[in-house]
């Protein structure tokens, strides 16, 4: 009687373990899951640390659409005017702008800027992005002031 019950319990246990492993294998979740191939678009490998970029190089990347410009200024200033097609991630709102940060491409150069050479928001934003895994960020120290002084493309509004 007890022997029969123990055998049945064992069978049930084995079936449960087998079922669990089968589920994790096919679902890709859990201990027995297959290792996923690394997707380069979501790699968390930290690339090169931020480096400066000057105005001519920034403009060249702008002209070839090879970079995404990120404006670290407050949204009021961004609304009044910004580099054409730039994204606004105000430094002060970094933690609440996860959606904007997630939308940053990994296959393009990210150029961060703020007002000009005296502001430090661009450096701090570059450092924060670097800390969360974005590599090869360029800091455009000349920023908004240099850009508009050269009458390069801008736009206003949100």
């Amino acid at each position: 009687m007890y022997k029969h019950a123990a055998r049945e319990s064992g069978l049930i246990l084995c079936a449960a373990v087998l079922l669990g492993f089968t589920y994790t294998f096919f679902s890709g979740k859990g201990f027995f899951a297959r290792s996923r191939p690394i997707d380069s678009t979501e790699s968390s490998t930290v690339g090169p640390a931020p480096t400066p970029i000057n105005l001519p190089d920034a403009k060249a990347l702008f002209d070839t659409d090879a970079a995404v410009f990120v404006d670290a200024r407050h949204y009021f200033d961004f609304r009044r005017g910004h580099i054409k097609s730039a994204l606004n991630i105000p430094l002060s709102e970094f933690d609440s702008r996860q959606t904007s940060i997630d939308s940053l491409p990994r296959n393009k150069t990210i150029i961060v800027y703020c007002d000009g050479s005296e502001c430090n928001s661009s450096i701090e934003l570059a450092a924060k992005l670097y800390e969360i895994g974005f590599g090869g960020i360029r800091i455009f120290f000349g920023g908004w002031e240099d850009w508009i002084a050269n009458k390069f493309p801008t736009e206003s509004g949100p």
Partner: protein, 230 residues
């Protein structure tokens, strides 16, 4: 007849409702702080008035940079009520013509955002030859000492004595062996950074002088420290 009266009443109500709104008026869209020496703090005022006939809500008064602070006005102005925004601009780190903004957001339906321009001309006596008081030291390995000389030219007509150099960061310092800088001569300050942990770091190195116009020359220093292998 009833229809005509109703139409008139409705029209009047509509006109009244569209005109019943808050309206912000500022005394000037530009505050000229004049010529100041780098490091000086200059204060200006923006007068706000609600010239509408509904309460005006002041939702945000936001300066465009960390160099400017504002004393926030009342959160709400009744019709015909006025208040002031005190704006203080710290010219440390700035040189030459400066243009900053104080952004005001209200519930004025016709002009939700108003930007007041703040202008100043910032002079210096010890002028950095790199043209900026902001110094980017780049990416530094943790535990590695990096030095960068920064030179200044004495652009005033008298000798400036160097009293001391201090830093706000234990990992950034500045040193010079010069005690005085004669007119048109240069001062060299060697900045040293020695990070002990990875990450972004900034600090202000302040050079104290005997100048009345520019008693302190601030250098804002930045770097990103990386561990070996990063």
């Amino acid at each position: 007849m009833k229809n005509i009266l109703g139409f008139i009443v409705l029209s009047l109500l509509l006109i009244a409702s569209t005109k019943a709104q808050p309206k912000l008026a500022v005394d000037s869209l530009t505050i000229d702080l004049g010529t100041i020496y780098s490091g000086q703090v200059k204060t200006g005022r923006i007068k706000l008035k609600n010239i509408g006939n509904q309460p005006l809500k002041i939702l945000h008064v936001q300066p465009s940079c960390g160099c400017t602070t504002v004393r926030q006005p009342k959160g709400e102005l009744q019709p015909n009520e006025s208040d002031e925004v005190e704006v203080s601009f710290n010219s440390s780190l700035y040189r030459g013509p400066v243009e900053k903004f104080v952004n005001i957001e209200t519930n004025d339906p016709l002009s939700q955002y108003v930007a007041v321009k703040l202008i100043a001309n910032v002079k210096d006596e010890l002028a950095p030859t790199s043209s900026s008081y902001s110094i980017w030291l780049g990416n530094i390995r943790v535990g590695k000492k990096v030095e960068q000389p920064i030179t200044f030219t004495n652009v005033c007509g008298r000798t400036i004595a160097i009293r001391s150099i201090t830093s706000t960061s234990p990992h950034i310092s500045g040193e010079t062996d010069q005690k005085r800088v004669d007119p048109s001569d240069t001062l060299t300050v060697v900045l040293t950074a020695l990070p002990d942990k990875a990450g972004y770091e900034t600090g202000t190195v302040s050079i104290q002088t005997d100048s009345k116009n520019q008693p302190t020359v601030d250098l804002k220093v930045y770097f990103i420290a990386q561990k070996e292998g990063q």
